[in-house]
């Protein structure tokens, strides 16, 4: 939010409504820019924060997620033509993850669609999309407005998150199934908070959506109720480990939006990204459908897969080869991490056909920094199932009490 006291050019990054609280808890003063906002990269240590996601409850400020309000008599038809997924099944109170493509069937972005009422939706995306949404709105009775600054949002993720919300007076939150949402009035002041059982961690968790004016009140209440449930604010670095374990993609790391690519051939289609399950050819026309049908007929030239790599050195920025000698490159790693929970060296990687087959073996060229002495290691890597980590509690309804 801009404040009146300073002109905009003196505060190039916006502050979220949680900024003062986050700054007070930050021990290492590590902030990064995200969609024009200043957000926390690390509060204390990445490891400590990561284990809050998996063992207790983490709080992550996702206000910078770009949000659009989509309303109008033609809103459903508009969304169904925009998205690769069939949106006609998305009833009020439900959330859907989907992607959308350009005319060539190349991915523009992914995001979540919240159906708030009949023909009233909220779309949350990583990148700004207004231009494409407006182009897609030609011929549809729909109004689109960016509401990023009007909605503050927190992700509450971890095994104790449900118990924490119940303790706070979110009655019935335990009955929310994955990808459902509901409006709550948070006691004692009856602050209106929308809760959706969604997240980016692949764990039990919720996302809380509120007015910016209520943001600090909700934050304080969460921190107070979470004291006995291990609540901990987290930054983007810890979240990144969890999302790789969950097998989720991040724009600009695992793919570049087709709206931003400059070089021909660097765009990616949902089929290449392993998101074919999101593409519904039977629902009627959507942007990119004809191109994707043609691509499906040809068969994908490359595929984003999960890799399990020997050793414990994360395969950051790693080239992948068919042979140990490293003569024939067949792909590269897009995201990599050592997974503390599964105790595996994991990566998401783009592999050329036919090397992306499940169980196929490739070689990863990993560079090791041994006290500024660099070594090169060829590590064996195997194509494995995603998600790498999928605890039963992420779907259990009601979740376990703590």
């Amino acid at each position: 939010m801009l404040t009146e006291s300073e002109p905009h050019f003196r505060q190039p990054l916006l502050k979220t409504p949680f900024h003062e609280r986050a700054r007070a808890l930050s021990q290492v003063d590590s902030f990064v820019a995200w969609s024009g906002y200043s957000t926390v990269d690390v509060f204390t240590t990445v490891e400590q924060e990561y284990f809050a996601i998996r063992n207790s409850t983490s709080v992550y400020d996702l206000t910078p997620m770009v949000k659009y309000r989509i309303v109008g008599a033609g809103a459903l038809r508009f969304l169904n033509r925009l998205m690769t997924r069939d949106m006609r099944n998305l009833a009020p109170g439900k959330v859907a993850y989907s992607v959308w493509c350009d005319d060539s069937g190349h991915l523009i972005d992914d995001g979540t669609v919240f159906c708030l009422a009949v023909n009233e939706y909220r779309l949350c995306t990583a990148e700004r999309q207004l231009d494409w949404l407006c182009a897609s709105a030609i011929g549809f009775d729909v109004e689109i407005a960016e509401v990023t600054e009007e909605v503050a949002a927190l992700a509450l993720q971890g095994p104790t998150s449900c118990a924490l919300l119940q303790a706070l007076g979110f009655d019935g939150v335990e009955r929310l199934k994955p990808f459902e949402l509901r409006q709550f009035a948070m006691p004692p002041a009856a602050l209106p908070v929308m809760v959706s059982r969604t997240g980016f961690t692949g764990d039990l968790g919720y996302e809380l959506w509120m007015q910016p004016a209520d943001a600090e009140g909700v934050w304080d209440a969460l921190m107070e109720a979470g004291r006995t449930r291990g609540i901990r604010p987290i930054g983007s670095r810890a979240l990144n480990i969890a999302r790789i374990e969950a097998g989720f993609l991040l724009p600009n790391l695992d793919f570049i939006s087709a709206g931003h690519t400059l070089r021909i051939g660097t765009e990616r289609s949902p089929l290449e990204l392993g998101l074919g399950w999101l593409v519904d050819f039977g629902k009627g026309h959507f942007t990119g459908r004809r191109a994707l049908l043609e691509e499906q007929r040809r068969g994908p030239a490359r595929l984003l897969v999960g890799l399990d790599i020997e050793g414990n050195k994360p395969a950051h920025n790693t080239l992948l080869y068919a042979d140990r000698a490293g003569m024939k490159q067949v792909g590269s790693v897009t995201s990599a991490t050592w997974s503390p929970t599964t105790k595996r060296n994991l990566a998401l990687a783009m592999l050329d056909a036919p090397h992306f087959a499940m169980g196929a073996a490739v070689w990863a060229e990993i560079y090791l920094n041994r006290e500024l002495t660099w070594q090169r290691r060829m590590a064996r890597a195997r194509v494995v199932e995603r998600p790498f980590y999928a605890p039963a509690r992420r779907r259990a309804t009601p979740p376990a009490d703590f």
């Binding site: 038809r77 033509r81 925009l82 350009d102 005319d103 494409w132 182009a135 897609s136 030609i138 011929g139 549809f140 009627g284 026309h285 942007t287 990119g288 459908r289 004809r290």
Partner: protein
């Protein structure tokens, strides 16, 4: 097919304008069952003859015939269908305020402007050589690039070879002037402002351009190449509507059916393929192929609907520049007005009020800011001199194209219609002092009128502006430039396609060829 059965055709042609009729005729000759659906009560679209005052008839939109290839007219047997020309090789005369009007005929020029006459001869010769080389561009379907098709490559190679064969001098000249504005070109070659003004008219008539606008040499070359380099202006007996009647006759003779007063409300799509149309009455008619002669915006955004199209393509169609700038003035005259200093032969031809390129540019300036020209440019004909049947005995009709009259007039056409009509009449009256005394009544068709009456979004004659970015390989938009859009079974055959508008018929013929080839 019986009255009780569900009607089904191989091809439905949406719109019975000249391109729709040409397309229907070729499709029917190719053995297809064809139904033409025309919204109006008569076929012809913008090539119609209408009564605009009791007993007075006029070619209501286009008023001269000069671009339709002779081969096409012969192939369709239009003279056998009753088409006669009341006049051809109409002379062009540039009107001058001082009465020293200039005939563009070689003899007249040589007498008045010896130096310019030589230069004009050279320009005409160059124009004919370039037109001959470029003529195939305007008659063939444009190739689609990036498909690796040998047909497309061969087509481009042929074009390149034809340009190369012009020889070093002509090829260099073509490449040099191709992107220029017409005023610079005319200033290089000619001295007389009156001559330059008259030539500039051909470059900007019916476009959203002034003589200083880039790309106006292209539109001039386009007109010359489309006309085969000849000044072959003609006036059909009975007006342009007679041409449409003959085209309808040719289509019917080949087996096509034509229904008037049958406006199409929607193009039906099933399984991502055009499958027929729904009329405004609710009647559904099934067909394997739908060919639309409506403009691209009407076809894709109106009749088809963006839900059947990709968003990027939809945006390109929505962004087509389709705002018309030409108004049409029709005067019913009790008697022939006296044009002093103008002989009767000249009066039978085409009269231009555009005394210099600067005059046109000033007229265009207003249009840029949403105003109509304070001193408009006009192309005038008095068709009753060659064809008295258009008016009661002894009476006359004057038909004029008046530029610039922007589609989106800032102050609104409702309020300004009369003042622009008066302005146009007075502009002509400056050359015919008794014009007001002869006047029975006047009709002005502004671009919004043309949009409404002829069902052309934006009221642009060419359906979409003729400019390099909406031309040839990419006309009307990338993804629909070969008479076929992204939805299988739906073709375009109107002026929004290559090679564009004017009463040419080539788009209709090329679209029919494409349908016959691809949907064989």
């Amino acid at each position: 097919m019986t009255a009780a059965g569900t009607p089904r055709y191989d091809c439905i042609v949406v719109g019975g304008g000249h391109n729709g009729l040409v397309c229907a005729a070729y499709l029917a000759r190719g053995g297809r069952s064809v139904l033409v659906l025309e919204a109006a009560g008569q076929v012809g679209g913008a090539a119609v003859t209408r009564e605009f005052a009791p007993g007075f008839q006029v070619s209501a939109c286009a008023h001269l015939l000069h671009l339709m290839p002779g081969a096409l007219m012969r192939e369709l047997g239009l003279s056998a269908q009753g088409l006669k020309l009341a006049a051809q090789h109409l002379p062009t005369t540039a009107l001058s305020g001082d009465g020293a009007h200039l005939s563009l005929a070689p003899a007249g020029l040589a007498q008045r402007l010896p130096a310019d006459a030589v230069a004009y001869g050279e320009w005409q010769a160059l124009g004919q050589r370039l037109a001959a080389a470029l003529h195939p561009v305007l008659t063939d379907a444009p190739p689609r690039l990036g498909t690796g098709s040998w047909r497309a490559r061969a087509s481009l190679l042929r074009l390149g070879w034809r340009i190369r064969r012009l020889g070093r001098c002509d090829m260099r000249e073509l490449l040099r002037i191709g992107g220029m504005n017409v005023q610079d070109l005319l200033d290089e070659r000619f001295e007389s402002p009156l001559l330059k003004g008259a030539l500039a008219v051909d470059a900007v008539l019916g476009t959203n351009l002034g003589p200083r606008s880039p790309g106006t040499v292209l539109t001039l070359l386009y007109r010359m190449a489309a006309a085969g380099g000849a000044e072959a202006l003609a006036q059909p007996a009975g007006g342009l509507g007679a041409l449409s009647t003959a085209l309808a006759g040719a289509a019917t003779a080949a087996g096509a059916q034509i229904r008037t007063q049958a406006p199409v409300a929607r193009i039906l799509v099933s399984a991502d393929r055009a499958s027929g149309v729904v009329l405004a009455s609710g009647e559904e008619i099934a067909a394997d192929v739908v060919v639309s002669s409506a403009d691209p915006k009407t076809t894709f955004l109106g009749l088809l609907g963006s839900e059947h199209l990709d968003a990027g393509f939809t945006r390109r169609v929505a962004q087509l520049r389709t705002g018309g700038l030409a108004a049409k003035l029709h005067l019913a005259l009790e008697r022939l007005p006296q044009f002093p200093d103008l002989d009767r032969q000249a009066l039978r031809g085409r009269l231009l009020i555009a005394p210099s390129p600067q005059y046109i540019e000033r007229a265009f300036n207003h249009a840029k800011y949403g105003e109509f020209s304070a001193a408009p440019m006009l192309e005038i004909t008095v068709p009753t001199l060659a064809d008295p049947t258009l008016a009661p005995p002894g009476k006359h009709v004057l038909s004029a194209i008046v530029q610039y009259a922007p589609y989106s007039l800032r102050s609104g056409w409702q309020a300004q219609r009369q003042s622009f009509t008066d302005l146009a009449i007075d502009t002509i009256g400056a050359f015919a002092p008794d014009l007001r005394d002869c006047l029975h009544s006047a009709q002005l068709l502004t671009p919004p009128d043309i949009e409404r009456e002829f069902r052309i979004a934006g009221g642009h004659w060419h359906h979409a502006e003729l400019a390099l970015d909406q031309f040839f390989l990419v006309r009307p938009v990338p993804g629909a430039a070969q008479y076929q859009g992204p939805v299988a079974g739906l073709y375009l055959c109107g002026a929004g396609c290559h090679p564009g508008g004017g009463v040419m018929g080539v788009a209709g013929r090329n679209a029919a060829r494409q349908v016959l080839r691809e949907a064989a």
